[in-house]
C-alpha cells in the first residue's frame, strides 16, 4: 500500500473539520509510504468543496458532481471510490468514522478485498507496515492492528483524533469518469430536515450533553443549545433523556448511541454511569455540573461543579459569549 486516498464526506459542499484532519494525516502518511495524497469529493456541491480542500497539502483532488450520487443511496459513491482506488493501485483509504462513513467503508472493503480497521485514533508507519491504533470494547481496550493478505486498507478515522494543518496546498484537480454499466436500485425519495444535530455530534469540537437532571425537553433548547452555540459545539444527551423522549435517539451518547471525543465535553445533569462513560471517556477535558457531589462522573471528570444547573448554565453561557465577543 502506497497511495493514500481520503473520502471527503460532505453535504452540498459543506464539510466538517474531520475532512481536514484526514487531509493533513493523508500528507503525513503518503510521505511515510512514498506515495501521493489523494482526495475524492462526490455529488452536488463537490466543486465548492474542492476549493476548501485546495488549502490542504494534498497532491490530487478527484471530483465528480454526478447527480446520481444524491439520487441514489451510497452505491454510486462506492463505485466511484472503488474505481479510483483500482486505478491508483495498492492504497490506503481514510474515511471518517461517521454513520455514513462506516457504511462506505464496509462496502468498499468488501469490493476491494481490503483489510478494514475502524475508529482509528492514530496511525504508525514503520518500514512500510501500517499500524492502526483504536479503542475497542467501549474504550476499555486500546488495540493495534495491521493489514495482511490485502493490497488495500480501509480505515475509518475517529473525528477529533488528528490535528489539522492548512498549508502547502497545491493540489491538481481531476474530473472523475462515471463508472460504466451501473444501475442503481436504492432511491432517495425524500430528505427530511428535523433541525437536530446541525453539526455532527461525533465531529463537534465541544459537546454539551444533558441527562435526567434537565427534567424535560425544553432545557435542551433553552439551556444547552445556547451554551453549545457559544462554544461552536453540539448538544448531546444521555440515554435516560433519549428514552424519556426529550431528544431524538440521534443525540444519544454512550452504549447503543454515539461515541464522541471532542476537546471539551460538558455533562449537565448526567450521573455518568458506565453506559454513558463508554461514549465520552476519551474526550479531551470533561466538565460536569450536577446537584449531587457523589455521582459516578465525579470519578473521572476533570472538574465537577456541584450546584444548580439551571442557575449555572445561563451564567456560563453569558461568560463564554462575552469572551467570544471580546475575542472577535
Amino acid at each position: 500500500m502506497q497511495q493514500v486516498i481520503i473520502f471527503a464526506e460532505h453535504q452540498g459542499g459543506h464539510t466538517r473539520k474531520v475532512t481536514y484532519e484526514l487531509a493533513t494525516e493523508a500528507r503525513r502518511l503518503a510521505d511515510s509510504l512514498g506515495g501521493k495524497a489523494h482526495a475524492v469529493a462526490l455529488g452536488g456541491g463537490a466543486a465548492s468543496l474542492v476549493e476548501q480542500l485546495k488549502r490542504y497539502p494534498l497532491d490530487v483532488i478527484h471530483v465528480s458532481e454526478d447527480p446520481d450520487v444524491d439520487k441514489f443511496l451510497i452505491d454510486p459513491v462506492v463505485d466511484y471510490v472503488e474505481a479510483l482506488a483500482r486505478s491508483l493501485g495498492p492504497s490506503i483509504v481514510l474515511i471518517p468514522n461517521t454513520m455514513y462513513g462506516r457504511d462506505v467503508a464496509g462496502r468498499l472493503a468488501a469490493r476491494l478485498g481490503a483489510g478494514l480497521t475502524s475508529d482509528v485514533t492514530d496511525i504508525k508507519v514503520e518500514n512500510g507496515k501500517i499500524d492502526c491504533i483504536s479503542p475497542k470494547l467501549g474504550g476499555a481496550a486500546i488495540t493495534a492492528c495491521t493489514f495482511k493478505n490485502a493490497e488495500y486498507g480501509v480505515v475509518t478515522v475517529r473525528p477529533n483524533a488528528f490535528s489539522v494543518e492548512a498549508s502547502g496546498g497545491a493540489a491538481e484537480v481531476r474530473q472523475l469518469e462515471k463508472p460504466a454499466g451501473k444501475t442503481y436500485r436504492m432511491v432517495i425519495e425524500e430528505d427530511v430536515e428535523e433541525g437536530t444535530g446541525e453539526l455532527g455530534l461525533e465531529e463537534a469540537p465541544a459537546v454539551v450533553a444533558g441527562g435526567r437532571g434537565l427534567g424535560g425537553p425544553e432545557p435542551f433548547q433553552t439551556l444547552l443549545k445556547p451554551l453549545a452555540d457559544a462554544l461552536a459545539g453540539a448538544v448531546g444527551a444521555s440515554r435516560a433523556a433519549a428514552d424519556a423522549g426529550w431528544v431524538p435517539y440521534s443525540l444519544q451518547i454512550g452504549q447503543t448511541g454515539k461515541t464522541v471525543s471532542p476537546p471539551l465535553y460538558i455533562a449537565v445533569g448526567i450521573s455518568g454511569a458506565i453506559q454513558h462513560k463508554v461514549g465520552m471517556r476519551s474526550a479531551g477535558t470533561i466538565v460536569a455540573i450536577n446537584k449531587d457531589g457523589g455521582v459516578p462522573i465525579g470519578e473521572f471528570a476533570d472538574l465537577l461543579v456541584v450546584g444548580d444547573l439551571f442557575a449555572i448554565v445561563p451564567e456560563l453561557t453569558k461568560l463564554v459569549q462575552a469572551a467570544r465577543a471580546a475575542h472577535a
Binding site: L137, N149, E190, A206, D302, G307
Partner: protein
C-alpha cells in the same frame, strides 16, 4: 416473507471490562455474554414487520458464535424469532470484517431470504462495517441506519437516520437493512416466549457444511491484531461546590480559560 436477523454475542456491555496489562486479555468480573444490544433492535424491527405482514412471515436468526452461546441465542427465539442457525467452528476464530461478512453471506444465502436485518454496530468490535460488507457479499441493495422499516407490495421503504433528520429510501427485495435505536425499544421475552423457545430449532453449521472451501479466520483475515492495552486511566479531578449560578459559572469559565478551551 423470509426474514433473517444477524445476531452477535458480546460481553455484557453493562459490566465493567478491564484489560489485564500483563496477559493483555479481557478480564470479565462475572460478566456473562449477551445478545449484542444493537442486534436486539434488529430483532425488534423484524418482529414488528412480522406483526404487520402476517403469519406466513418467518424470522430466522443467523449467529456466528462459539458453540457455548446456545442459551444466549435462545433468548432471540424467546423474543419471538422462529428458528436459529449457529455458525460455530474453531476455524471462524479471529475472523475480521472480511471473513465475518462472507461467512454470514454464505450461510444466509444457503438459508434463503427476502430481507436481512442487522444491528448497526457491535458493542465490542464496533466497526459498523459488517452490514454494508454483507450487502456487498450477498449482492443485494443495502439500506442502512433505518429508524423505520416498511414492506408494501414486495417493495422496501425505510426512514434512514441522518445527522440532520432522515431520508426516505426505497428499494426492491431481496435486500439488507440495518437499523438504529429509532425502531423502538426491544421487547422482553414473555413467559410463553421463553417456554416456546425451548422447542424451537437451533441448527448448527460448521465451516465444511457451509461450503466455504478457502481458508478462514486467522489464515485469511486481512487484518491482524498486534497488541491490546488498557486505556490511560482518567484521574479523578476537582470537585467544587457552588453556592449560586454566578459562582458555579465562574469556576467553570476560569477552568476552561486555564485549559485554553474558551
Amino acid at each position: 416473507m423470509k426474514i433473517v436477523v444477524t445476531v452477535k454475542v458480546v460481553p455484557d456491555p453493562n459490566s465493567t471490562k478491564r484489560i489485564d496489562p500483563n496477559t493483555k486479555r479481557l478480564v470479565r468480573s462475572g460478566a456473562d455474554n449477551v445478545i449484542n444490544p444493537y442486534d436486539e433492535y434488529a430483532l425488534e424491527a423484524a418482529l414488528q414487520l412480522k406483526e404487520k405482514l402476517g403469519a406466513d412471515t418467518t424470522i430466522s436468526v443467523v449467529s456466528m458464535v462459539p458453540e457455548n452461546s446456545k442459551e444466549v441465542v435462545r433468548k432471540a427465539l424467546a423474543m419471538g424469532a422462529d428458528d436459529a442457525v449457529m455458525l460455530s467452528d474453531s476455524a471462524f476464530e479471529a475472523s475480521d470484517v472480511w471473513d465475518t461478512a462472507r461467512v454470514l453471506a454464505e450461510a444466509i444465502r444457503k438459508h434463503g431470504f427476502d430481507l436481512v436485518i442487522c444491528g448497526g454496530l457491535s458493542d465490542d468490535g464496533s466497526t459498523g462495517a459488517v452490514p454494508g460488507a454483507l450487502a456487498e457479499h450477498l449482492g443485494v441493495p443495502g439500506l442502512t441506519n433505518a429508524k423505520r422499516v416498511d414492506v408494501t407490495d414486495g417493495k422496501l421503504k425505510i426512514q434512514r437516520e441522518t445527522d440532520s433528520g432522515y431520508q426516505v429510501v426505497s428499494g426492491p427485495l431481496p435486500a439488507m437493512v440495518s437499523v438504529t435505536m429509532g425502531v423502538g425499544e426491544p421487547r422482553y421475552p414473555s413467559l410463553k416466549g421463553i417456554m416456546g423457545a425451548k422447542k424451537k430449532t437451533i441448527a448448527m453449521s460448521s465451516h465444511a457444511e457451509l461450503g466455504v472451501t478457502d481458508a478462514l479466520g486467522a489464515g485469511s483475515a486481512k487484518t491482524e491484531l498486534l497488541d491490546v492495552k488498557p486505556p490511560p486511566e482518567r484521574a479523578k479531578g476537582q470537585v467544587v461546590t457552588a453556592t449560586d449560578g454566578a459562582e458555579g459559572a465562574k469556576i467553570i469559565f476560569d477552568f476552561l480559560q486555564q485549559k485554553k478551551l474558551v
